[in-house]
Amino acid sequence: MRMRHLAATVGVAALALTAVACGKEEPAAGGGGGSTASDSCGDLHKFTTAADVNVAGSPTFTKAKTRGNLVVGVKADQPNLGYKDADGKRCGFDIEVARMVSAGLGLDPDKIEYKEIPSANRETAIAGGEIDYYVGTYSITDKRKALVGFAGPYFVAGQDLLVRKDDTSLDAGKEALKGKKVCSATGSTPIQRVKDEQLTEASNISEFKTYSECVSQLLDNKTDAVTTDDAILKGYAATAPDQLRVVGKPFSTEKYGIGVPLADKAIRDQVNTILEKSATDGTWKAIYDETLGKSGSPGTPPPLEKY
């Protein structure tokens, strides 16, 4: 009798537990991040493929020429930068730069084979020949220059904050972060800066694999700000302008370069020539205005750093 009593009590408790568990699980089917990325890609820029291009002494170019197309490493979860929509179409500023370089190398940009390479694997993918070059918010640093070659920069960004539209408490920029929750990609330079400069308490920092997951946390009030380069943040703000906005007080300089194999100086020089030409003939301006420019802030091509 006593045992039955106990068993019944435990049983009721267990049922209550499972009921809670079920309640938690249901909505998650649609969750898991990326809820803001519902926009689909529009038309891409039209490039004229250069004829009779030869990059002497470049193994990367020779390989691509024989293959008939380029293999380019990109990102797929950054709206208006490097993005893949639900139909598998790609668009954004980085995609246009990748296509522009392909056209400049005399290879049809529509034939590019895109590979999504996670940030942590970029050097390995370039060094291992998995991709010909990488265009995806890839900051030029001295440490990285020891592992890969960089053409560019083709864009200069700065670390900024993305907040909920009605939240004005962070308008002062990074100085206002103390006591606020902030989210960024795991191990990324922006979150490292927040830690190093102790802009907020360690317990207020959350790190997820992608920025989309951080934006999801921001919209669900689990964090107060998402921090990374303003280019990326503006892309997100543009997808939900009535819910999100960028503070607009950048506190760093990130130079985006095109990552090419370390030893292949010939292809690096050739890509620099293509970038140089795009800055003077207005192509850079045109693709910027069609992508990131939609956020309302103007952009100009940065000076190249050849080496």
Partner: protein
């Protein structure tokens, strides 16, 4: 190769320390929860058996990443308040691993001949007494090797937490990439780190096997 480790010692130290904490806390909690669930599955009450079976079949067939995503994003979408990322991560690892512990415990219980519990029942013991005094002590002897495998799997599963705001050993490559360090050597060091962590588990298993061995 050594400089990759020594130059970034802070990353490796903090990463593996979090891995160890996640592992130890989840291991203890999932052993407790798993044993309780195992008891559910052999209990005389049909409702408890159904709860145990449902739990095991649901959690064992759900990828761990999804369990994490449910807790970190699904719960957030429901505006449910959750504890710190550490305890949410421990929760995800525990509810996942306990399903496996449950099955191991149940298989151990099934190695004990039914005559033992019938005899215990005959001298007037309750179900709880039969389980805790007669069956489980003998069952644990049989389950030491499979239980060790479950815990070694748990240790490696902690790396899933890297994607969910827990900068443990699995998150080291991302930070190392930002620092521009060699990825391959980083991965070699992480592998060595995990091997070092698994060695004590193997010795613990040997010790437990000898300790519980029938003379």
């Amino acid at each position: 190769m050594l400089s990759v480790l020594t130059d970034n010692w802070d990353l490796f130290r903090d990463g593996f320390w979090l891995t160890i904490r996640l592992f130890l806390v989840s291991a203890v909690l999932s052993l407790v929860l798993g044993t309780i669930l195992g008891a559910f599955r052999v209990s005389p009450v049909p409702a408890l058996r159904a709860v145990g079976t449902g739990y095991v079949n649901t959690l064992r067939n759900t990828p761990l990443t999804l369990v994490f995503a449910f807790l970190f994003f699904g719960a957030a979408k429901m505006q449910l308040a959750l504890p710190s990322p550490f305890w949410t991560g421990v929760g995800a690892l525990t509810i996942y691993t306990s399903a496996f512990v449950c099955e191991v415990v149940r298989s151990g219980i099934n190695t004990i001949s039914p005559g033992q519990s019938e005899a215990a029942r005959a001298v007037g013991m309750t179900f709880i007494q039969v389980l805790t005094l007669i069956v489980l002590p003998q069952a644990f002897r049989a389950i030491v090797p499979p239980l060790s495998s479950v815990f070694i799997a748990l240790l490696k599963n902690t790396t899933i937490a890297a994607g969910f705001s827990l900068a443990e050993a699995g998150a080291i490559p991302a930070a190392m990439s930002e620092r521009g360090e060699n990825q391959l050597i980083t991965l070699v060091w992480i592998t060595i780190g995990f091997l070092i962590l698994i060695v004590p588990l193997i010795f613990l298993q040997r010790w437990a096997e000898r300790r519980t061995a029938v003379a």
